[in-house]
Amino acid sequence: MPVWNIIQAVNDALRIEMRRDPRVVILGEDVGKFGGVFRATTGLFDEFGGDRVFDTPLAEAGIIGSAIGMALYGLRPVPEIQFADFIYPAYDQIVNELAKFRYRSGGQYPVPVVIRTPYGGGIRGGHYHSQSPEAYFAHTPGLKVVIPSNPYDAKGLLLSSIRGEDPVIFMEPKRVYRAAKGEVPEGDYTVPLGKAKVVREGSQLTVLCYGAMVHTCVEAAQLAEKDGFDPEIIDLRTLLPLDTETVLESVRKTGRVVIAHEAPKTCGYGAELAAMIAEKALMSLEAPISRVAGFDTPFPYTLENEYMPSPDRVALAIKQTAQF
């Protein structure tokens, strides 16, 4: 089995699906000849041509609007928004059109659009190339929100997303695009949406995370382990629909929870996780749920390392919650 990074896994998934299904098309800024600013669409223009892999102007509302129209006419577009920070101009198209079409048409028009977009900090990108806007999309009925943390999941989840009938916001953790490497099977396989994965078993405490933060939490667990702590780590993989069963099963076992994400804490996705657990498993809890998150400031350029939850910050929360 080849060892690939997330970029290679995403590229392979796109190639497999485009070979299998002529309805799949890719559009976005620099995705064609150039192969994408992060190289995720490398080689696809050469193999499938300009009718199926094409460059667009810098006009995100146009990219997503066009993709919606193409999907309504039977194609399966996979638009790329170059950075999640640039998704806001297309926000109205996503929240008011894409998410609602199937419902508003009484089921007549499903909109199978998968929006791929790199998110998150850690690349010295400053305010406009570092944001994590997942929570807003998770609040919008009609969308699915998927965030892989590793190459295997990236490929399998992307294939599942493209084959689904509903719109998916597929957010890729750009900080670990190349750093997260792993064995990826060649050929076709899928990872189902809506299923979380236990990446480290433990008895004492449950750590909930997704995307690049999974790697931070694994490091934090190694730090905490040295001091005798035994956390369980769950990679959510799909934020909407959330795999509440896997989360609650773990919480009922451990009685303690730490949630980690890069996005600002207030009204971040961790709030939903904490609220859901407090509603459904309060009597299993032996300590208050702790959230380790980005701060409620715009993403800073110079203080990036202080802003993003570090292994030390997560490890501290693990220790404090375990000792509560």
Partner: protein, 339 residues
């Protein structure tokens, strides 16, 4: 003290502030000659003239952007969005410019702009005109989010929002404009970030805001007849959230229900529950419940709209669940009548 409607209270707040400070102006779709889509700006064009009450084209991204530029150069714009649903076309300006300029410029540029307009459902306006979007803005650092539920709060909070040097998302209740209430005369302000206990009680805390607060108060009234004493806390400002007032109430009642108009997943209630479980962990005698809009886009049909929207029976049922009381009535059934 005068008896005013919510819409009149907002009008008074803007007029008084504009009389006080020449740098304030109002801009938006139909705010001038038409006197406001919801008549909030009634009479303002006549009073302040076309330079300070400005009609715009139907281009939210454009006039929100112009407002941001005006604020950077020393003015204090009030930008009216006909409804918050339409702000999604301008959300890039709000999230990426208004919310960030102060930090990006190292504090050199203040951003004293108020974006105001109605939010929430108003009866058979369908999926795209009924959204409660406070959650999205509350997740954006740099923004304040204010949601008054009474005419007095509407006036006092809007005055403070206009005087604030940061961008404020001011979401009015679309079904509250006609609500009457006592409003203090003259320059009485309500500070941002301060919750208000709208009804005192001892058995259970309900946290709710905007239109849903009025529904929660109705539920509290019904429950009082069954000898259940509910305390109703109105955060008034969603961000910054006055957690302390909510915690004090929960420490007294030991039970909490959050009622809001937004959808149930990843909502403002989630943030409140997350904070309450953290700060009142040993005070809680029952899991916290959230009552909210169901997880589908808003239907057009009146009976379905009523069914997915929180109502008195659903709030009562939630309060009884957290009090471990048997439910006396079935949960809300579809109604054909919509206000």
């Amino acid at each position: 003290m005068a008896r005013l409607s919510y819409r009149e209270a907002l009008n008074q707040a803007m007029c008084e502030e504009m009389e006080r400070d020449d740098s304030i102006f109002l801009m938006g779709e139909e705010v001038g000659h038409y006197q406001g889509a919801y008549k909030v700006s009634q009479g303002m064009l006549q009073k302040f003239g076309e330079k300070r009450v400005i009609d715009t084209p139907i281009a939210e991204c454009g006039f929100v952007g112009v407002g941001i530029g005006a604020a950077m150069t020393g003015l204090r714009p009030i930008i009216e969005l006909m409804t918050w649903n339409f702000s999604l076309v301008a959300i890039d300006q709000i999230v990426n410019n208004a919310a960030k300029i102060r930090l990006m410029s190292g504090g050199q540029f203040k951003m004293p702009v108020v974006f105001r307009g109605p939010g929430g459902a108003a009866g058979q306006l369908g999926a795209q005109h009924s959204q409660a979007l406070e959650y999205m803005y509350a997740n954006v650092p740099g923004l304040k989010v204010v949601m008054p539920s009474t005419p007095a709060d509407a006036k006092g909070l809007l005055k403070m929002a206009i005087r604030d040097d940061d961008p404020v998302i001011f979401i009015e209740g679309e079904r509250l404009y006609g609500v009457q209430g006592e409003v203090p005369d003259g320059d009485v302000v309500v500070p941002l970030g301060k919750a208000d206990v709208k009804r005192e009680g001892t058995d259970c805390t309900i946290v709710s805001w905007s239109k849903m607060l009025t529904v929660a108060l109705e539920a509290a009234e019904v429950l009082a007849k069954e000898n259940i004493s509910v305390e109703v806390v109105d955060p008034r400002t969603i961000k910054p959230l006055d957690g302390e007032t909510i915690y004090q109430s929960v420490r007294k009642t030991n039970r909490c229900v959050v009622v809001e108009e937004g959808h149930g997943f990843s909502n403002v209630g989630a943030e409140i529950v997350a904070r309450v479980q953290r700060n009142c962990f040993d005070d809680l005698d029952a899991p916290i419940e959230r009552v909210h809009r169901m997880e589908i886009p808003m239907p057009y049909a009146a009976n379905l709209e009523a069914m997915i929207t929180p109502d008195v029976p659903r709030i009562i049922a939630a309060v009884k669940r957290v009090m471990y009381l048997p439910e006396s009535k079935p949960e809300s059934k579809p109604q054909s009548k919509v206000e």
